[in-house]
């Protein structure tokens, strides 16, 4: 799934404004799934490395 910069900007604005996943009108089960999924340090760094390498190509 490719996430656009616009999505990231909105997400960042929501974080700045203190709006969390719980404040959205998504179904409760979806919210729970999002909140329960926790990414480890290794997963975050691996995703970042993939993204950097993709941009270099």
């Amino acid at each position: 799934m490719a996430i656009s910069l616009e999505t990231i900007r909105r997400a960042n604005a929501n974080m700045i404004n203190g709006r969390s996943v719980r404040d959205t009108d998504l179904p409760e089960s979806v919210k729970r799934q999002i909140l329960e999924r926790r990414y480890s340090e290794a997963e975050i760094n691996a995703a970042y490395a993939r993204s950097v390498n993709r941009d270099k190509k």
């Binding site: 997400a11 929501n14 340090e41 970042y48």
Partner: protein, 164 residues
């Protein structure tokens, strides 16, 4: 040049995004400490004071691990926010597609709807006109007399034609 090498301790390599965020958290904490120091003492802390009172605590393995943990937490919040935003946009795009599909119905469907609406409209206007006319006729005695005469005349003709 600082000798505590906090950046080197927090950021393992170029792909260590968690470490980069951890370093940002460290810098923010350092700036807050300097601001508090200045507010309390009226002067900015010197490099040596920063080394002695701030960096002595912040560069221990425990503190480095703590910064990395904070960064991981913060990044998970960001991932949650991004995922949520992406899902909201996806949900909105599905809703918009459904609206567009509903609006752009096929020509034959549009034709049927318009013909149907035309028939219903004509029936309503005709019904209204008939009732209006009947209402007018009911109160017009002159017309009623003429109408009765006409009917009688017609019936007379019919009777006459039957007897013949």
């Amino acid at each position: 040049m600082s000798n505590h090498d906090t950046f080197g301790k927090l950021v393992k390599d170029d792909n260590d995004f968690v470490g980069i965020v951890a370093y940002t958290i460290y810098k923010k904490e350092k700036n807050n400490w300097k601001d508090t120091y200045e507010a309390t003492h009226g002067v900015k802390p010197t490099y040596d004071q920063i080394q002695q009172y701030f960096n002595v605590d912040t560069t221990t393995p425990q503190k480095i691990a703590s910064y990395r943990k904070l960064a991981e937490d913060r990044l998970n919040i960001f991932i949650d926010a991004t995922t949520t935003e992406e899902l909201i946009q996806y949900k909105n795009s599905i809703r918009d597609d459904a609206i567009v599909t509903a609006v752009n119905s096929p020509w034959w469907k549009e034709l049927l709807i318009n013909v149907g609406a035309g028939i219903v409209g004509a029936a309503l206007v005709s019904g209204f006109s008939i009732f209006y006319w009947l209402g007018q006729v009911k109160e017009d005695t002159e017309f009623q007399k003429k109408f009765n005469d006409k009917v009688a005349e017609e019936l007379g003709i019919i009777k006459q034609s039957k007897t013949e």
